[in-house]
Symmetry: C2
DNA sequence: TCTGATTTCGCAATCGTTTGCAGAAACCTG
DNA sequence: CAGGTTTCTGCAAACGATTGCGAAATCAGA
């Protein structure tokens, strides 16, 4: 392992002091260095193959040029695009991101926040899942620049970027309404997750706004955002709810579970029951029936969050523009169709 | 932003020297500290909420306790499980991982290796894609601990963990052969990617081993591992190759493209042409027809690579066990079926 | 030529930890 | 009790960079 070339080496080679070298190599400070000297030094630097040691610089400046990216689980197809969106703005600026998976466990999350602080990250982007986790709010109050994705943190002045969950659900409901559906059920997500709760609220609002029946039995809550829970919740609806002709699912995986149940029970989709999802995961257009869903702008959300964080790190007050709401789009595919005629209602 | 508590603070509070504090807090060195003193110090440390500054420690010890994880693209469904596998062993050991996406561009990759070195990573896990990229080999030769996933680097002594590509293709071909297929085509991946090349070679071997026709026209090469190229290559086969009854695709996305083409041309799958993929991506069981494919152990590969890297960082010679080959499994689903009778060959 | 302003550069401290070395104290051993 | 260990702790120098401050050099103007 060869000796890494440092400022000192360049200083020795050019016969100047290490501080002069440091200044000559810093574009911001190089005004205080004569042109000749600077050229001499930069030449020597590139000749020797100098690469600054960011740890050392970070120690001195208290700026590590790294940010922490906290997500529930990179394995969840929702997050990779977000991560890339973040990286696409951070990397060109010289920032590196250290990625951690919280699994939505508060204690794990708390530990990871500490880990990130130990490493001196300049800020944290937190793709939140839980509705309440005080850890991140505390970090923000302690002066750590923080931006959250998917969730607003009450009280603290933390910028956040979210999708327009309300509009998404409203689009789905309106779409079904337009197809003639009147009795619409909701497979809700976990209510301790922000998206689950927001979408359930949005569903109730949308139903009310259209003067549709708001029977609480038409809402079944999944404990997790996965296929099994989607199936369970859908079965619960089929078994206990009054007849309905459409299911608005709080996310695509729940919808996949619901579709499985319909198929298993021989209920044709969309002939008898239409289904919608949320998120527009990959490959949803390949399944049978292709899932009608709401597409969201993950990469853009990541990029915006990253830019907000950079601004915060740069000293901008968070107060200015706390909220960024990204538009969503309805993607109509095969899983939704016209409401079956009332003469042949689905057997219960 | 409050002052962060340092060793110096603890020293002041307990009235001892900072070096004593450092030793008392280091489990390895604490033998040289009396029990009473150590207790006093650890108590003060936790009372003050001390958290070591890893940057400072890293600067001194030349050990940053971070590793670089280089992957082509986290958006590719193949990699998230690998990343989690890596994290699952690294995080408990106190390592953080900084993640970078290379997009399989050599110059970008070279730059990112430098970025990682600047940050003083203790090692690099490189989920390779390109068959040749000298950058990572140079880094390894310069003394950086490196482990690669999916690729062997010739010459350099770099441990690598790969899937048993050969067995995977052999399984697919044998499965088709068992179903009666004799004329089997191959949608090959890009030959500048290691997996593409290895699988194409494996295909030829498997064909030869079964004494099946090894017509070069039965192999069509995709330029990228995506659906569009899979479709293009499949069309090329249908248009120019002699009749065949099965297609072994070098990866699932190519297979998806191939399935689209078959459907578009009205060629029923698997009635007239069977199709297999590779990787067992999520949701492949939900599409129509469900794709028969080869499942690989991504998370395990990541975990093993991480363990190997830790060993390297710990000073172990890479020579010992360079190669780890992970077993693969055939997953039979709906896209493969018995060979159509010869009396009704597919029209060309 | 001298003064004062300006540029250009070196000195040294500093960030928070780690660690070789040495000194002091305590403990044995003969 | 002298001499030799062993145990404990402090001192200070690193690690590689940044930066306030001051000194030297240059320059302009009188």
């Amino acid at each position: 392992m060869k000796h890494r070339v440092t400022l000192k080496d360049i200083a020795r080679h050019t016969g100047v002091h290490v501080s002069t070298v440091s200044r000559a190599l810093d574009p911001a400070k190089s005004t205080t260095i004569s042109d000749g000297m600077r050229k001499q030094i930069t030449d020597a630097a590139s000749a020797l193959g100098y690469r600054p040691n960011r740890l050392a610089a970070g120690l001195r400046t208290n700026r590590s040029m790294t940010v922490g990216v906290m997500i529930p689980d990179i394995t969840n197809a929702l997050f990779p695009p977000i991560v890339r969106g973040i990286e696409s703005v951070l990397e060109p600026l010289g920032y590196a991101s250290i990625l951690v998976n919280t699994d939505s466990e508060p204690e794990r999350e708390a530990r990871l926040v500490e880990v990130l602080r130990d490493r001196g990250v300049d800020g944290i982007i937190h793709a939140a899942a839980l509705r309440q986790d005080p850890t991140i709010a505390r970090a923000a109050e302690a002066g750590m620049p923080v931006v959250t994705l998917n969730r607003r943190i009450e009280g603290a002045e933390i910028p956040f970027v979210i999708n327009d969950e309300d509009a998404g659900i409203r689009l789905a409901v309106a779409h079904l309404h337009g197809l003639g559906h009147r009795r619409i059920a909701h497979v809700a997500g976990p209510q301790n997750l922000s998206t689950g709760q927001l979408r359930a609220e949005a569903f109730r609002r949308a139903i009310r706004a259209l003067d549709l029946p708001a029977d609480p039995r038409l809402i079944s809550e999944a404990q997790r955002f996965d296929e099994d829970e989607g199936a369970r919740a859908a079965e619960h609806l089929l078994d206990t709810a009054p007849p309905f002709t459409a299911m608005v699912c709080a996310n695509d995986r729940l919808a996949l579970g619901a579709l499985s149940v319909l198929r298993a029970r021989g209920v044709p989709c969309p002939a008898e029951v239409s289904v919608t999802g949320f998120n527009n995961m990959p490959f949803l257009d390949r399944i049978e029936p292709a899932l009608t869903t709401i597409s969201i702008r993950q990469a853009e959300a990541g990029a915006i969050a990253a830019r907000r964080l950079i601004a915060l790190i740069g000293g901008e007050a968070p107060g200015g523009m706390l909220e960024t709401v990204l538009p969503v789009e309805l993607v109509v595919r095969g899983s939704t169709g016209p409401c079956p005629t009332l003469e042949s209602p689905r057997d219960l």
